[in-house]
């Protein structure tokens, strides 16, 4: 990429972020069971690795929503699709190993092998034929390409249709939500060829790799951290130059950008597709750590939670998205995991497993109302860079444009 030497110096937050990320990853590795003191359990390492993937998709969400002003409620669909694409290879190759391991006296012919794999994988949905979409499942490079191609193509087609007809604002949000719903409903069917509501499972076993989960979890942590770093730098690159100006211009006053001669639709489509691909890559790294994927993961609500993370972290700033995703998902794990102590009010005991959602919902409302800048606004407080309050006039005529009070550099 054409990152000029001055890129990092112009974007000091990138350097800080990369250093923090490297320190974190190294620290976890040194405390892990596989390579270090064994203070951090393998399951927690996996949680941290998954959290890094969620941070990556949060960056994608920040690009499309925080910078470009398109509230997409569909990016978890791309995340899930990415997971499905890699999951197909993982499951196929793993089943293939099992089938080969349990062969009879004769080595199986390719047809026999495929039939046996199909029976293993699809017995649960009552068929034993390998659907056409599994044609490339035996090849890792092909499925890796599909991780990018399938969500990218879906985003391209959907985005082209939606932006071409100038659907904007809440209409677009609802349309993306509908797309996500349609996709998850489609995948819930057994006929979709992806095992219906059973989803794909056993993804934590990497075919051809003898290492145990303790080691694998650390490898995936590194891979996730690496991809997050790459994603962060890419996002910083995209948002830094004139392209970033145009993105923020589209967010604040789409019509004005058009009259400057920029084809707003192409830009939106570009960003939409790019972020879909980033989301898909995040998903492809997430699900091998989660071990299982099913269509429920792609329900529209997941994408809305994504928006919640970015909003709580702070829109329009890359580190805000990362902080939000990491903070909310880790706190959520803590609360829902039953580890949080109950709160005894005397007349009623608050069990956090039951009340965490309520707390999340209400704190989200409060953040939207009182702190549009989210957690990242704290950074401004610390730096003393409070923006002058100019009465909160809109910064553009569009209903979705930023208000002055929430505009940040």
């Amino acid at each position: 990429m054409a990152i000029k030497p001055g890129f990092l110096s112009k974007n000091p937050s990138v350097l800080v972020f990369l250093l923090v990320l490297a320190a974190f990853t190294l620290g976890v590795t040194l405390m892990s069971e596989a390579y270090g003191a064994g203070v951090v359990s393998t399951s927690f390492v996996k949680t941290l690795g998954k959290t890094l993937c969620l941070c990556l998709i949060a960056i994608a969400m920040d690009l499309i929503w925080g910078y470009t002003g398109i509230l997409s409620l569909g990016h978890f669909a791309f995340f899930g699709l990415g997971g499905y694409m890699i999951g197909m290879w993982l499951m196929y190759a793993r089943t293939r190993e099992i089938v080969l391991g349990s062969q009879g006296a004769l080595p199986p012919t390719p047809q026999e092998l495929q039939d046996a794999i199909a029976t293993q994988i699809f017995g649960v949905v009552g068929t034993s034929e390998l659907p056409a979409i599994w044609s490339f499942a035996g090849s890792l490079p092909a499925q890796l390409a599909l991780v990018v191609l399938v969500p990218g193509l879906l985003a391209l087609i959907f985005g082209w249709l939606a932006f071409r007809s100038r659907v904007t604002g809440v209409y677009l949000s609802i349309l993306t939500q509908a797309m996500t719903l349609a996709l998850s409903l489609y995948l819930f069917q057994n006929e979709s060829g992806l095992r219906g509501n059973n989803g794909l499972s056993g993804l934590q076993n990497i075919p051809g790799v003898a290492a145990d989960q303790d080691h694998l979890s650390i490898w995936f942590l590194w891979a996730s951290a690496g991809m997050l770093a790459a994603g962060y730098m890419l996002a910083a690159f995209v948002t830094s130059g004139k392209f970033g100006s145009v993105m923020r211009g589209i967010r604040d006053d789409e019509a004005r950008v058009r009259f400057l001669g920029y084809s707003v639709e192409s830009y939106k489509l570009f960003i939409f597709t790019l972020t879909a691909v980033i989301a898909a890559i995040a998903g492809a790294l997430y699900y091998p750590q989660a071990g299982i994927i099913n269509p429920g993961e792609m329900a529209p609500i997941a994408s809305i939670y994504l928006a919640v993370w970015v909003a709580i972290g702070g829109r329009g700033r890359l580190y805000g998205a990362v902080v939000g995703a990491a903070f909310v998902s880790l706190v959520s794990t803590w609360f829902t995991g039953g580890r949080a102590p109950d709160l005894n009010l005397g007349f009623y005991t608050v069990k956090w497993v039951d009340w965490w959602q309520v707390l999340l919902g209400l704190s989200f409302v409060l953040v939207t109302l009182l702190a549009p800048k989210g957690l990242a606004g704290l950074v401004d407080l610390v730096q003393g860079l409070r923006h002058p309050n100019r009465g909160g006039d809109p910064m553009g005529p569009g209903d979705g444009s930023l208000r002055e009070e929430e505009a940040v550099e």
């Binding site: 080595p107 509908a178 489609y186 919902g361």
Partner: protein, 669 residues
Amino acid sequence: MRHRFLALTAALCLALPAFAQETPPSAEVSSSEIFAPEAAGEAPALTGLAAVLATYSGDIAKPSRKTIGPVIAEIGAAGEGAPAFLAAWADKRVGQAKDGRFYLIEKTKDGYALTDPVTGAAAGTVPKSELSELKPNAGVRGVIASALVEFQLSDPDPAQRRAALDALARNGAAEHLEPLRASIETEADPAIREQKERLERLLTVRFGTSSEERVAAIEHFNGDLALDVRGALNPIVVITRKVFEGAAEGNVAQVLRVGKDLGEEEAYLLLVEAGLAPARLTASERRAVLEANIDAGAVAGVPIAELDDPAKRNAAYKALVAEGKARAALTEREIGAALAGFTFADVYSETDATVTAAAALALQAIDTKVGVMQAADLGLDALSLASIYFLAAIGLAITFGVMGVINMAHGEFITMGAYTGYVVQLYIADYTTSILVALPLAFLITAGAGVAMERLVIRHLYKRPLETLLATFGISIALQQIFKNIFGTQARPLTSPAWLDGAWMINDVVSISYIRIAIFVLALIFLALFLWVMKRTRLGLEVRAVTQNPSMAASMGINPDRINMLTFGLGSGIAGIAGVAIGLFAKVTSELGSDYIVQSFMTVVVGGVGNIWGTLAGATLIGFLQKTIEWFNPSNTLAAQTYMILFIIAFIQFRPRGIIALKGRAAGD
């Protein structure tokens, strides 16, 4: 042969009542003396059923199909208790006590509870050893059942006759035909007579003796949609696929040409099943043979490691065949030759060709009519779905249209309405009253919640629709969890009043449940109410003013804050009422609302914002669309929803602002 025997039995049944009275009591006395000496002295002369039972106790205890006919006829004519006795006898619920008397019995823990067959009074209990159960064989039971039908069909009580007809309609048999026909003549009730005639024809279709008789009965039903008609006709046209060495025999529906009507694979399988050809060599058989012949790491000279290649496997197998260790696989030519030697045909199991032809024709006519009716039924279904969507979406449309606010918590307001209905039913037992209380109460509660939400949250976020969407989503997840914490995750009952139970059956195909009709009416009421509020009241005028130009409205002395609050209250309140209505037929869980929320959004988006007719059009379009797609693929409602959403995405391409869109500058573009 059998028919003739039954006819005879029936004739006897009719003729015997008079004869029964004249039966000499001698046999009865003797049996009584033998088996019940202590009762003999004081016993009055036995009459009626008791007498008959006593007379034929030997035959009854050990009945034979050949001889039991007259006895049954006599029992049947014996008056009080006879039908119950026969029914119990056929059900193996009759026992004979040591004293030779018969009782209706019921097994208890360690014996039998007895009932006197004549009076129906309880007659104490006896231990198991004191009683032997009567176990008539199937043939005897058939005779008993047939006789029972005859008695029941002529029972003086119309209700009994109807019940007998219903039973016959469920499992009529050939032997019922004659008694049924016999009973038609004497039937006085015209409605029952009609029912009997219809049943007679149905039974004739199935069991009639001559083809003319059956064809006539079939033709009589031309275009009749009733399920029982189809139930009678369908078995007649059942076909089986058969192989013949020469020409096809029997009542042939269609001769199948191999390769055109019938695949070669399937045809050959038929041959194999019929034992007319050897099975093909399957892959697994070949594999087994190869495995069985492994010799020093190789099969017929081919190393095992190379046997993952199909060509090598073939070679190895051929070598085994040459060695005589395996049977040869059939060649394509051999299979072709085998198939050429036989005829394949679909053959009716019904042998009478005129009857099958008539039945096929009648079924075709019925199918056409059923198709039309199903379309009508689909239309009704779609209409009711559309009214549900309309009810669910109208509140959303109001807030979205007037205030530009997307309320993601709208679904939870629907849920709130349904739970209100549930809670009201906990306190008010009468379902009609409770629904009448629940409807306004749900409106008040959800409207209150809506106003509170508007005051506390939305008011601060006007002109920031995406933020509103997210804030209301936060409220939505909080509310949903609160519902779960209060009401649990399992479904709560919201019972509709009895007068809403059941369905309006127009015929066997077209029907619609009363609840759905009620929802349709409710939707109409809301449409009228909304139009009245908007067009005829001060509030409506102010709402329209604020919708079109808030700042101008404000300068005219309208308080937009108040209007927004009231609008939001109204929209939320309607959601509550929709919740009660939906809760009547759907499961009331904390996720009730979210099941409808996306469809509601779709309705609003497709219909176009800011116009009630748009919402109506959107709901109608989506309702009909969903039902139509379901019709094409009835087994898969998930697919129907998927395709519907895809259609909507495509639809937005052509009408980005909905069916009824504002144009020009007012659209705010």
